[in-house]
Structures are given as structure tokens and as C-alpha cells.
Amino acid sequence: MIQDAINDLKRLNKRQFLYQVLSFGMIVSSALMIWKGLMVLTGSESPIVVVLSGSMEPAFHRGDLLFLTNYRNEPYLVNVDLDIVVFKVEGRDIPIVHRVLKLHEKEDGSVKFLTKGDNNSVDDRGLYAPGQLWLTKNDVVGRARGFLPYVGMVTIYMNEYPKFKYGVLACLGLYVLVHRE
């Protein structure tokens, strides 16, 4: 099989090879365009997130996909439409998906709120930065709007087993370079 692939590569002439490289570039750039386009449409810096922990079980399990929006004008209310927020905490790289537990809004529009994971017995004050008691709008990455189970497992495996990731990338690259319509 590998021999076949190498023979295929040898049979390619320069133009064909360049064409394959270009089409590979097209695939990469269109993926990037879709991602950036989603960012513009949803207003969120990461419109799709993978659930990494079990703190929201049984609603969300590890590997589920969430679709986020983060429209600036929408109020972060517990009772309006959606109440699961994805937020970032200073000193932690990974955003957290939890539910808003209480919320106070001042006259000037500033909002402070507290979150909690469904599967945790206490609220999130222990997870926030030291001394931080509340979250504000600026901490929010987005609100969870859509749900798709299991699909994110692929990226979790890729992050946990780098060899698997490079294997998949190598296979895809080889396939695109060698494959001819």
C-alpha cells in the first residue's frame, strides 16, 4: 500500500503536484474562513467548545459539543432564554461551562453573577481567581445555545494522544497530495 502511494507520488509531474498543494491550501483556508465567519456571526471568540469535564453531568458529558453565542446587547439574566455560560477565569487556560446561580444588576448596567456546575455541590467561588467573588460580562466567552453529543471526543483523543493527531494529519495530507479525481 505504501509502495503504491510512493509510486503515485513518483508519477505526479510538477504541475499536478502544485495543483494538489494548492487544493490542500484551499481546504485549510476554507476551514479557517468558516471558523472566523462563525466568530463574526456569533460574536463569541470561540463559537464551538468541547466539554472537557464532568461538572455539568448528566446534562453535558466529556466530549459533547456546545454552540455558543455572545451578543453584546443581550442581558445575562438567569431567567431569560439561557442560563448556561462559558467563562474564563484569570490564571486558567481552559474556559468553564457552568450555570448562573445568582445575578445582580446595578443601575449603570453593570452585572455581577455567580455560577455553579450541576454536578458540583458548591458554587464556583473556589474556582475563581483568589479574592474574586463574582463574574462580570467581560469574563464571559458565550452562552450555550446548541448541543451535539459525542462529536468532540475526536479532539479530546487528539489532544491526549499526540501520536494519533500526527497520524491523522499525515494520512489526510498524504491523501490530499496523492488523490487524483
Binding site: 448528566p58 446534562a59 453535558f60 431567567n79 445582580h104 455581577k112 467573588l133 446548541g146 448541543f147
Partner: protein, 179 residues
């Protein structure tokens, strides 16, 4: 031409596209479903205290204690694209310092297949009813309402307000004794 790999590839690709199509149809089939229903909420005991909040700023804040009755039959909300309901009871009110306060007092997870005909009497709240200051004593208009967040098998995450809410007052005096 039809090697083992190309056959496997075809089967895998076909399976994936059928699965994603079915998932999408499952989502589409429940987009227009109306998941609202009525609920009866009532308060039984209402007490307010003024104590330091050691879980937060250590300042003395108003702390409300209530017990409540709740009746709702949510059995009809479960369709084939509902994995779980997350019910939560919120208190919503306005204080001089805040134009909006929303505090979740109680929540419950109902998985598919569990009893969704709820009849609770004299329930304690699950979370403390801390105000952000001293706004609860003598408050005339606290609204209790129930919402459910619908977790689907795949699709939109919706939060639906129940039809019907309950308004109550806090007493004019702090309670000093243990409750």
C-alpha cells in the same frame, strides 16, 4: 479498484452521513414544540435575618429563609429529543441598590423516564437566599418563578418559563432566633 480500504472508507462515510442526517431530522422534528406548562407555587414560611456572609465578603447582608409548595406536571414536556430537564426556582426582585436581582433558590434534575409529576409540600430551599446588601427586610414584592432548561439529545438548548408565578412579602422585622 475496490480494495479493502476503499470499501471501509465508503461504509464509514455513508454511516456518518446517515447518522448526521438522522440527528438533524431529530432536531428539526422538535424545533416547533411548545414546552410551556402551568405550575402552582406557594410560600409557607417566610423569615428574614441579617447576618455576616462568610461565604463572600463577610459583610452583614440580608438572608431570607422560605419554604415553598410546588406542583407541576411536566410529563408532557418529554419528547424523543429531551434528555433531561433542569428545573430551577428563582426569586426576582428590585432593591434600591440593584435594578435587578435574580437568585436561584432551588433546582432539580429530571432525567427521561423519571417521575415528572411534581408535588412538593413545605420544601426547604437548596441554596441560601442572600441579598446583595440589606434589601430583603420588609420587601413587598418578591416574585418566585419556575423555569426549565431543556437538554436535548441534539439541538437547541432552550430555557422555558413556567406559566404561573407567586409573589410574597418579607416581614418588617429581622428574626434573631435560630430558624
Amino acid at each position: 479498484m475496490h480494495s479493502f480500504l476503499s470499501r471501509g472508507n465508503a461504509i464509514l462515510a455513508y454511516t456518518l452521513s446517515v447518522l448526521s442526517f438522522l440527528t438533524f431530522v431529530c432536531f428539526l422534528s422538535t424545533v416547533l414544540v411548545d414546552s410551556r406548562t402551568g405550575v402552582d407555587i406557594n410560600t409557607v414560611k417566610i423569615v428574614v435575618k441579617n447576618v455576616p456572609d462568610y461565604s463572600a465578603s463577610r459583610e452583614e447582608n440580608d438572608l431570607g429563609f422560605i419554604t415553598f409548595d410546588l406542583q407541576a406536571n411536566l410529563t408532557k414536556i418529554f419528547n424523543w429529543n429531551v434528555k433531561q430537564l433542569f428545573l430551577y426556582l428563582t426569586a426576582e426582585y428590585i432593591t434600591p441598590s440593584n435594578v435587578l436581582n435574580q437568585v436561584v433558590l432551588w433546582d432539580r434534575i429530571i432525567l427521561r423516564g423519571e417521575n415528572a409529576d411534581l408535588k412538593f409540600k413545605n420544601m426547604n430551599t437548596k441554596y441560601y437566599f442572600w441579598d446583595d446588601g440589606k434589601g430583603l427586610k420588609g420587601h413587598k414584592n418578591i416574585t418566585l418563578s419556575l423555569h426549565w432548561n431543556i437538554i436535548p439529545n441534539a439541538g437547541r438548548l432552550l430555557t422555558v418559563p413556567a406559566i404561573g408565578q407567586h409573589t410574597f412579602k418579607f416581614p418588617e422585622e429581622y428574626t434573631v432566633n435560630r430558624v
